[in-house]
Symmetry: C2
Subunit: 477 residues, 2 copies
């Protein structure tokens, strides 16, 4: 008999039909009621078992996370809590799951750290199966958003010969024998013998290559893995994470802000409209986590409440200069509670961003027009000659989710900037040529995918929104 997925059984119950379902045991109560889940939905299907009909040796194997195939009649449930249930006629054990054989998962709340070290089973928990269904939904919404608007998805290279992207420390990629690499006469490693004939790294951003595509196809986006070899062991950093980078020919910084706001709201709305049951489960989880905290450490809003608040309100848009002014008038500034200095020319620190978002405006904030000295070389110089058309989108709780800019499209100004920061022109020959031949104004940004998944799922550690996190000292699985 062909099995039916539990999501379908619950959505369109064919009452009185005899059906087969397969899945993992989430609970088994009183030797009679199995809660079965097959991953297709956060809900479980109740199976009612008549101990006289089912062999005792099988009943003994019905344990937490054992995998079963069950055939029986689907009927309206007699009990509260579910609309339908299956009266089991036969049960087959597809995969046993015995604590005495060493199974480490238990039907109780286990620490996040424990679940991370057992990432091969954590997706079987309520929390993580919801997180990863939502992660899928957000990824799909990314593609749908851009496809519906005529953007083209570009795969930018993962291995790059350029180290001019300037966004942080990079991982080195090589096929040379690390123990005894070929060497030049001066003793240095001979990278001409490496796979690509030169030293290569893992990309930190697909932006520069994305600009190539935008200046031909008009509107493009990337969605791929990016890497930072930084020794940041924090709940906000991963060595390997996914980034979405739209790039649009003919857009200026205002179009860019509009796109960022429309895009992030769309992702949130998509989840609210299509995955509310998963969000409700995570909303409850977060509320319990918050209840364990002292009152002054708790979030101002519940998960779903905050998501609705963000989509229902316009993002605040201010300049960097205005941000500095607001901060200088703030209570924590006057009371010297900020750890880092506030002064025109210094970058905004996390504590400053949080003040703006969580205290001053109580909603997402887009800060634009930063001092050129603290931003990347490719950002377009404003007419004041002091600031660049950069923008950061700051979200409550997680801080910066988006960084972007209008790009410097004037060849000579870009050459000047590159020289000033000491990058060789040859390194960026093609990037400069894009300005020399058929260039156009254009703008884009990068959204840290995991940050967005964190915001939507309410998970406080970024390691809990990616299936197999890569962090300093950890490349397990």
């Amino acid at each position: 008999m062909r099995r039916i997925e539990i999501a379908k059984v619950l959505a369109q119950p064919a009452l009185d039909d005899t059906i087969t379902v397969m899945g993992w045991v989430r609970a088994f109560r009183g030797n009679r009621f199995i809660a079965l889940n097959d991953g297709s939905t956060p809900h479980t299907l109740q199976i009612v078992l008549d101990a006289e009909k089912i062999d005792e040796t099988i009943i003994k194997k019905i344990k937490f996370h054992a995998c079963l195939s069950i055939t029986g009649q689907l009927v309206a449930s007699q009990g509260a809590g579910q609309a339908v249930e299956i009266l089991a006629e036969s049960i087959e054990v597809l995969g046993e799951c015995n604590p005495e054989d060493g199974y480490m998962m238990q039907p109780k709340v286990q620490t996040m750290e424990f679940l991370r070290t057992n990432a091969h089973f954590r997706m079987r928990t309520n929390t993580f199966s919801s997180v990863f269904r939502l992660r899928h939904a957000i990824a799909f919404a990314v593609h749908k958003f851009y496809n519906d608007r005529g953007f083209f998805y570009i795969h930018t290279p993962i291995i790059t010969g350029s180290d001019a992207e300037g966004a942080g420390e990079m991982f080195h990629v090589t096929t040379l024998d690390t123990n005894s690499p070929p060497r030049l006469e001066d003793g240095s490693v001979d990278y001409t013998q490496d796979f690509f004939g030169k030293a290569t790294n893992l990309t930190v951003s697909g932006q520069l290559q994305g600009e190539i595509a935008a200046l031909a196809l008009g509107k493009i986006y990337t969605f791929g893995p990016t890497f930072r070899a930084e020794n940041s062991n924090t709940p906000r950093h991963l060595a390997e994470f996914w980034m979405i980078e739209p790039e649009v020919a003919f857009n200026d910084i205002v179009d860019n802000m509009d796109l960022a706001e429309e895009f992030t709201k769309y992702l949130i709305n998509y989840c609210l409209e299509n995955h509310l049951a998963d969000l409700e489960l995570l909303d409850k989880r977060l509320a319990e986590e918050q209840n364990a905290l002292p009152k002054d450490k708790r979030r101002a809003m519940g998960l779903i409440e905050q998501l609705r608040f963000v989509v229902d309100n316009a993002f605040e848009r201010i300049t960097y200069t205005e941000a500095v002014e607001i901060l200088m008038k703030s209570k924590p500034y006057k009371e010297k509670k900020f750890e880092f200095p506030v002064e025109w020319g210094s970058d905004l620190q996390s504590e400053h961003e949080r003040y703006l978002v969580e205290k001053e405006f109580k909603k997402p904030v887009i800060v634009r027009n930063y001092p050129k000295e603290i931003k990347a070389f490719y950002m377009r110089l404003n007419d004041d000659d002091k600031t660049v058309a950069a923008m950061d989108v700051l979200f409550p709780g997680i801080g910066e989710v988006i960084g972007g800019s209008q790009r410097e499209d004037r060849h000579d100004l870009l050459v000047e900037r590159i020289k000033a920061i000491g990058i060789a022109e040859e390194e960026l020959w093609w990037y400069l040529q894009l300005r020399k031949f058929g260039g156009a104004p254009h703008a884009g940004f990068g959204l840290g995918f995991e940050r967005m998944v964190q915001f939507i799922t309410g998970m406080s550690n970024i390691r809990d929104v990616i299936a197999f996190p890569r962090t300093p000292g950890n490349a397990e699985f």
Copy 2:
């Protein structure tokens, strides 16, 4: 004035409106007719220019691939070849493009190799803009196909600590100083001081981690970059390419074949239904390329003809044993024209696969149940104890596009296989535990994305279907 994209202008022409368009010059005839393209469509928009209205210095800058902003009235075209055109009232040059400044692209057919070395401009050509719009369409169709069917998209790790995947040579990832890495007492490199505390590589497949997700969420797929450090300088190989790997709990090898056939047909149909203009352009290109070949080297069908043929016919399904029998009865075998031996136990070579697909069946062929010795350790042993439930999907012209299998879900048999091929059990501790605790039958496959893009676009070199190809000696851009 807000610009309108050319795709929209052509699809819903608001006749007599004054509008602004922006894009790149594809042609400029008789100082009067500009063919403008902005990437949103393969079609160009005709701009009619009245030399008396437009400044001469501007007209001089209207060159191949220069970027223009044009405002004017949209009217029904007087000429043949287009329905509408714009009567230019003003023209702004956004980006000049002068051959005398070194612009290398020319309005004539240029070699593929030349365009590869100028990949930062090749997307501005008819051929490549169509290829990359189709690449986007196929990628979107992948996500839509799986999302519509309740699969969840999983990001499997790019950096992996495991080298047990066994699919070929790997790239090494490190942050150690290659010139003088830290060493142990015995002189070997001390990888405990590397970023992840051990030696790491770039993934060759997300399958093993995908199985983790499938055994919790039921139906999943991956779509990410994979890597092969093989010195294969051929039109069929890339060092960095994208792969799609669905994995489904409770599926057997027959379900797996059904999924592979439904999936590949869906991708082709999606392009036929949504991007016919791009396909028509590439169909014409291919026909011209074919005409330059001697008759016996030409394809049997045109591009679109072949795409329709593939979606309209059931794939042939045979066993490996049947394939060998067919080959042994074949003319080239009898005439000793095959380079490689045909005998039960040897892997099928490209020449054999091509015979089956192009001569014997003249359509896609799925070969299954290969000898266990020539297939990967994780494939499920059949009851004959000689073959495994493996399958390859072979396509006309490009050969293998899909390789997959039902996975060995029996713990003890898997341990036996791992030992037999010399992998340490500890290497795969979590993979083995998936069989020990709540395991289930499951199956999946990998589709080489670029191979599929090749098939749909008719491009003969795989380097021409990825924006920035990575091959031995080449990591430019």
